[in-house]
C-alpha cells in the first residue's frame, strides 16, 4: 500500500519534471560559494532557473537569498570584500568570466526592495537606461517609454504627468515605474528583491498581477519574505537556510508536501 503511493508520487514528480524540461534553462548556477571577507554567506548553491518562469527565493532573514539574487547581475561586485567561487551561466555564458558587467546588467534587470526612482521626471527615469545605451532619437525614446510603462501596467495612471517628478507618485506607483524602468532595457531576466515589502496590500496585489503578466516575456527571480506571495506568484520555489539551498521544487510541492522537515517547519510558520 505504502509503496504504491510512493510510486505514484514519484511518477507525478517525473511528469512535472518532463513538463519543465520543455522550457530551456536560462540561468544555471553550480557550486556557488560566496564570502564576505572571512564569513561565508552562500554554500555550494546549485540550481537551474528556467526560461519564462517565476522562481521565488524564500527563507528567514540573513539566509543569503538576497545575496544570491545579487550574484546574478553581479551587484555584489560593489562590495570590496566579496569573493565568489563557482559558476553562473546565463544564456550559456559564464557571467563571472566575462569582463563586461554593463552588458550583463542590461540583460538582467533588477527591482529593489524600496522604490529607488531617481529625482527626475517619470519620463527621464524610464528613458534613463536606454539613453545610457546611447539611444538619443526622441521618437524611439518616446516609444520605449510608452511601451515600458504599458508593460508595467502604469501607463494610464501616469501618461498625463510624464514630465513631473517621479518622486510625487505613491510608493506602489513608484515601484511599478521601477519595473517599467527595468523592462525599458528589454532584459531577459528580471530580478526582484522583496519588491512589495515596502508597499500596502493593494499596491502589492497590483505588483503581483504584474509579475504574473510579465512572466510571459521574462524570466523572473523574486526574493520574498511573504510565503503567500511566493505561493501566489511563483512556479518554482527555492528555500534558503543559512546560505544553503535546502529544497528547490515546484512551488505547490514546496508548500503542500515539502521533502525536508526544515522546509516544512518554515512554510508552516514554525520559525523564520
Amino acid at each position: 500500500m505504502n509503496t504504491t503511493l510512493e510510486r505514484k508520487e514519484v511518477k507525478e514528480t517525473a511528469n512535472v519534471e518532463n513538463q519543465n524540461d520543455q522550457r530551456s534553462v536560462k540561468i544555471s548556477v553550480r557550486d556557488l560559494d560566496l564570502f564576505y571577507g572571512d564569513n561565508q554567506a552562500l554554500y555550494q548553491v546549485s540550481l537551474d532557473i528556467r526560461e519564462k518562469e517565476v522562481t521565488a527565493l524564500i527563507g528567514p532573514s540573513g539566509c543569503g537569498k538576497s545575496t544570491f539574487l545579487r550574484t546574478l547581475n553581479r551587484m555584489n561586485d560593489l562590495i570590496d570584500s566579496v569573493r565568489i567561487n563557482g559558476d553562473i551561466h546565463i544564456n550559456g555564458n559564464n557571467i563571472y568570466q566575462s569582463k563586461d558587467v554593463i552588458e550583463l546588467r542590461t540583460k538582467v534587470g533588477m527591482v529593489f526592495q524600496k522604490p529607488n526612482l531617481f529625482p527626475m521626471s517619470i519620463y527621464d527615469n524610464v528613458a534613463y537606461g536606454p539613453r545610457m545605451q546611447g539611444i538619443k532619437n526622441k521618437k524611439e525614446l518616446n516609444q520605449i517609454v510608452e511601451e515600458s510603462l504599458r508593460g508595467a501596467a502604469i501607463w494610464d495612471e501616469v501618461k498625463d504627468r510624464l514630465k513631473t517628478s517621479a518622486l510625487g507618485l505613491s510608493g506602489g506607483q513608484q515601484q511599478r515605474v521601477c519595473i517599467a524602468r527595468a523592462i525599458a532595457m528589454k532584459p531577459d531576466v528580471i530580478l526582484m528583491d522583496e519588491p512589495t515589502s515596502a508597499l500596502d496590500p493593494i499596491s502589492t496585489l497590483k505588483v503581483e498581477e504584474l509579475i504574473a503578466h510579465l512572466k510571459k516575456d521574462y524570466t523572473i527571480v523574486i526574493v520574498t519574505h511573504n510565503m503567500q506571495q511566493a505561493a501566489r506568484v511563483s512556479d518554482k520555489t527555492a528555500f534558503f537556510l543559512n546560505g544553503e539551498v535546502i529544497e528547490f521544487e515546484q512551488t505547490d510541492q514546496i508548500f503542500s508536501m515539502p521533502k525536508d522537515s526544515r522546509t516544512e517547519d518554515y512554510v508552516t510558520g514554525r520559525f523564520g
Binding site: 560593489l78 542590461t106 531617481f118
Partner: protein, 301 residues
C-alpha cells in the same frame, strides 16, 4: 514623621538648585547673545560711518559706485574699478576652482580607494587651515615670478595672480562641502543606476551629482564668499593699481585690499569712504548668503 528641620533643610537645598539652574541658563543666553551683538555692532558701526558722507556731506552715492577715479587728495571717491576687480577676480577663481574642487570631491567620495582618500582628504582640510597671509607669500614668491617670466609681464602682480591664489584658497571649502553633499546621496540611487547597465562614471554624472545639486551649489556659493572677502593674500599679489582691468594681466585693486591698504592713515571723509567701501563689500556677502539660504531651503524639499 519627618523632622520639621529636616524638611526645611531639604527645601533650602532645592532652592539652591533652582537658583543655579536659573543662573546657568542665563549664562548660556548671554554667551549666545555675544555673537549676535557683535554682528549688529559691526554692521551698525560700518553703516553709520560709511553712510555719513552721503547723508551729511552731500556726496553722490551713484558717483561713488560708478566713479572710476579714487583720488582722496582731490576729494574724488569712485570705487568702480575695485568693484570690477573684485567681481572679475571672484569669477575667475570660480572658473578655475569649481571644476577642480568638484572633481576632487567626486573623486574622494565616489572613486578613490580608501587608502588614497585617507591621504587626500586631510590634505585638503589642512589647506583650509593655512593662514591666508601664507597663501599671499606663496603667490608672491612662486606664482608672481612664474607669471612674470612666462607671460613676459613687466609686473607679475596681476588679476591672473589673484585668480590663481583665490582658486586654491576656495578649494577646501568647495571640496569639503561638495563631498559631504555627494556622500549624502542615497546608495539606492547608485545601485538603481548601475543595475540599469550604466557605467560608474555615467552614474556619477547622471544621477549622483544631479541628486547632490543643492549641496554642490552651496559649496560653490561658500567658496565664492571666501574669494570675495579674502584680503591678505590678495594684497600681496594684486599689484593694487587703480585701473579698470581690461586684461587678466593687469594689476588690480579689489574692494578688500582698498580698505586694508588705506585705513591705516585715512581720516575724515577719506576714512568714511573706506567704510562705505565696506558696505558695498558687505552687501555682496549678504546677497551671497541670501542666495545660499534660498538654495539650501530648496534642497530641503
Amino acid at each position: 514623621m519627618p523632622n520639621p528641620s529636616e524638611v526645611k533643610q531639604k527645601n533650602k537645598s532645592n532652592r539652591l538648585k533652582y537658583i543655579m539652574e536659573f543662573i546657568s541658563e542665563k549664562l548660556f543666553l548671554i554667551c549666545a547673545l555675544i555673537s549676535v551683538l557683535s554682528l549688529f555692532l559691526i554692521i551698525g558701526f560700518v553703516f553709520f560711518k560709511g553712510s555719513n558722507p552721503f547723508i551729511a556731506d552731500g556726496y553722490s552715492f551713484i558717483d561713488f559706485i560708478f566713479g572710476s577715479d579714487w583720488i582722496p587728495s582731490e576729494d574724488k571717491y569712485g570705487i568702480f574699478p575695485m568693484i570690477v576687480a573684485s567681481i572679475y577676480a571672484t569669477i575667475g577663481a570660480l572658473v578655475i576652482g569649481v571644476p577642480i574642487g568638484l572633481l576632487t570631491a567626486i573623486f574622494l567620495s565616489e572613486i578613490a580607494p580608501k587608502p588614497i582618500a585617507k591621504i587626500i582628504s586631510p590634505a585638503v582640510q589642512l589647506l583650509a587651515g593655512i593662514p591666508s597671509v601664507l597663501y599671499g607669500v606663496f603667490g608672491l614668491a612662486i606664482i608672481v615670478p612664474f607669471l612674470q617670466n612666462n607671460l613676459g609681464l613687466v609686473k607679475g602682480q596681476s588679476l591672473i595672480a589673484v585668480i590663481l591664489v583665490l582658486a586654491i584658497m576656495m578649494l577646501p571649502t568647495i571640496v569639503t562641502v561638495a563631498e559631504t553633499a555627494i556622500r549624502a546621496v542615497p546608495k539606492t540611487y547608485r545601485e538603481g543606476s548601475l543595475a540599469l547597465g550604466a557605467s560608474p562614471i555615467g552614474t556619477i554624472f547622471k544621477v549622483v551629482v544631479p541628486a547632490a545639486k543643492s549641496g554642490i551649489m552651496a559649496a560653490i556659493v561658500l567658496g565664492l564668499g571666501r574669494a570675495i572677502g579674502e584680503t591678505m593674500a590678495v594684497i600681496l599679489v594684486a599689484g593694487n593699481s587703480l585701473i579698470i582691468p581690461t586684461s587678466i594681466t593687469d594689476s588690480v585693486r579689489p574692494l578688500t585690499t582698498n580698505i586694508a591698504l588705506e585705513m591705516g592713515y585715512a581720516y575724515g571723509t577719506h576714512q568714511e569712504m573706506l567704510f562705505a567701501t565696506g558696505i558695498v563689500l558687505f552687501s555682496f556677502i549678504l546677497i551671497l548668503n541670501f542666495v545660499l539660504a534660498k538654495i539650501s531651503s530648496k534642497g530641503g524639499k
